[in-house]
Amino acid sequence: MVVVDSETTTVLRVKGLLEFRCQLDSTDEQLVRNVISRTFETLRSQVKSESCVLAVSNSPLIIWPNKDAYATPEEITPSTLCEDMHQWIQTDEQESSGKKSSKKKSKKSSVASVINLRLMTEVTKPGPLSAPILTKTVLKSHFVSVTLPLDCVVCTGRSDTIKDACEQLIEALTHQLCEMEKVTLQNMKGMTLLVPEPVHFLLPEPKGLVTVVYPVGVPDSQLVAQRKELHQQFELPDDRPYFRRANAYHFPNEPYKDGYLRNPHLALTHPTLDNGKVYLVQGIYSYHHYMQDRVDDNGWGCAYRSLQTICSWFQQQGYVERPVPTHKEIQQALVDVGDKQASFVGSRQWIGSIEVQAVLSHLLGLTSKILFVSQGAELASKGRELANHFLTEGTPVMIGGGVLAHTILGVAWSETTGQIRYLILDPHYTGAEDLQVITDKGWCGWKGPDFWDQTAYYNLCLPQRPKVI
């Protein structure tokens, strides 16, 4: 278990597959457990041995953590600072124009950067060594063959050297193997074995990054007891999830496979109002907008897209496992609850906040509050309610009125002056997932009260978080 705090400058993440192989020559439970434990012990010795090697991804750096942090190339010594490793790493942003510009990179940012390492095994040793033996065992038995997906994270500070990092990494790896052993033995039933898999979670300050080993294939619904224990251990509130698989921390240098942008609002500078505070959506959502997924919903699909953004939030916070619904699925849900005729499916009819509420309830089992303003001008007075919503629920809000639908991701509100700004995510955008364009052109941006049609009436759908872990 590792803590990330403001002292951390570099996060080292080591990943690797270790082969776990053994023969179980008896089905006696205790003997089986002994063999499993012994095999784990062998792997732990392997990790602590001189043949354990860490190769820094996208760089020529290779470190032998158990040989006093000996490394190649020779410019790297055990006393080199961890953050100096960045100079050697080539990122995707740099063009491989033949020039080795990797040395010139130095990123100064307030967020700790991540360095990925691969766990490797050196098979060569200085000789001469004993020639090989072939052993044949004939015995009706069981053979265990698994690859353990090791994934450890270590946080290092400004003054930490590679030698310090190596000690921490090896400790983290051996500790993870112990955790894996525990989980494996816990979940053994007769001759079936579940593979242990590490998942990282970013807990609120000061607890930071934490790694939990879960058995592969067991759904969240069956791991409630483990999560309860973890919530107690880390003193976390027991009404919101932190340890569901969907809550897994997404490392900054890992691209999302689905191609949607996550949290574009983080690229913005937030407004400062006199005595004002900023209240934002909590957690992660994806930006859904016109023309995505090869659906041409230009002119009619804005509320659907806002609804998709909301669904993506609930999925990524771990409340639902269901993927984001398509337009047709949304329409079908409304037909299923009796809100619309069957001909609605496949049509280009608009929906509003009430329909959004109905779909969230029917498809995802969620409750939502509806807020009504008879005139757009009144929205300015809803600062307190919106601020409270973002404080307690923190979910994105769908707002529909006039002829448009939008998503509200936050408010900047001053209790004393009443000044208010709205953080809007606009589903009417038809372009590509270009963060620069989206933020520059205001498709995700802060708007003033004059953004709303002052005379039209508006409905807001405020989804509520289920109180579960």
Partner: protein, 472 residues
Amino acid sequence: MHFFCFWSADEPLDLSKLPAFLVEVLATVLLLLNIFHEIMGRGYIVQDDVEGYLSKLCEQKADPVTGLLIGQSSTQRDFVVMAIRTPQKEESAAAARNSVDKEWVTEHARQVSRMLPGGLSVVGVFIITDADAKDALTTLRQLLFAVENLISSEHLWDPADDDVTDCVTLHINPKTRKTVCRTFDIKDPKSVAKPADWKYQSGLCSSWATVSCSLNVDMLLPLPNNRTSTGNMEECLKEGLKAWAHQIESGLCLIDGKRLPEDSELTVGQRRNVRQTYTAQLLITTENKRLTDVIEQCGGSVSVTGAIHSRAYLHSNKPKARLAEKLLKRDVVSTVATRVQMMLEELLASDQESKGSCRDKQQKELFCLPHRIFCPLKVSGPLCVCDYQFSDEGLSEVTERLKEMLDIDAAEEDLDTRQEMTFEITGCDITPEPTQEKVEAPEHKKNYIGVAMATAVALLATAASMLYLNDI
């Protein structure tokens, strides 16, 4: 011939485009050189000892005499370091001696191939006969394809894009000493003969480089239920070796502790007669994720644990790091595969099926794989051939094989036996308890020590798979 236009007369010459233009010129020159090379054929540079060897063969009464040509091929140049005549078949009748036995030649080639460290391979075949040149060429072509196809079918690695697929045939008329040298592309079954140069040179190998390493092997594989014969074991081992070979192939290679860019040149041949040696390190990872079906029933297991010494030679004409890595990795894979194969061949031949010799339900057998011995070639330079010595063989058997297979006269003191140690734990030469059955060693060449044990034995600490025996 194409003529490339780099600028048109009406466009002003843009100097900013000059670097790109020069690159294009260079590329064209290289392309033309390659085409030229193709038309002009390959050039084989041959160790001058080979001339003497072939000459002696010409003086023998036998006709035809066939043999193999050993060397290294690179994209720019080809080297031949040794010629080996096909050994006489003991039981061949006088009549049969005057014809070429294709199977015999290919089998000889297969055996020879096992005795060549990395970097050395069978690059061609020769025939000494005063038969018609066209007939000789046809025979050579048949032999060449048969030999190369057999050898490459045993490889556990995939061919690389930069592998040279041209091989050489040499026809020498013993009376006129006229030499005809042709190459064929063995990747192309319809390949036609292309002319090639054959030039002798002295001290060819004196500045070749050696890359070597000692490498640990640790494999554990399940045997299928109820099918634990040697044949089944062979299947399992072949599969396991393939997977392991893939791991080696995709591993990181360090040369003298450094990770060199692929196209960087190893400093070789800059000083003649100075031994250039490099030590390699190999780092591997597991690629295949296995997260389901993790426990299966099995009838037993087979493991290969221990260490081997691997070596590859590099020609002195500016070899690249990529070549060193490729040749060494291939030697690593083939030395392990060869030994396992040799052990399996011995087991299958002596028909030591476990069901005959031991009635216990549990049975454990240990076989010491043969270890590698190197023999330096008489030519100056670092080149060695190798052989595998089983633990019950003496060095005299090694020198006999070197003579028979490679036509090399080596004395026992010449042999380098220090690269690999014989396995020195009690397991291999333990005397079983009197109450246990002992596998009788056949009187002819004993090539493995199989001991049936039902009692726990202290074994190699690194073989984790054996540790649990102590539990029972």
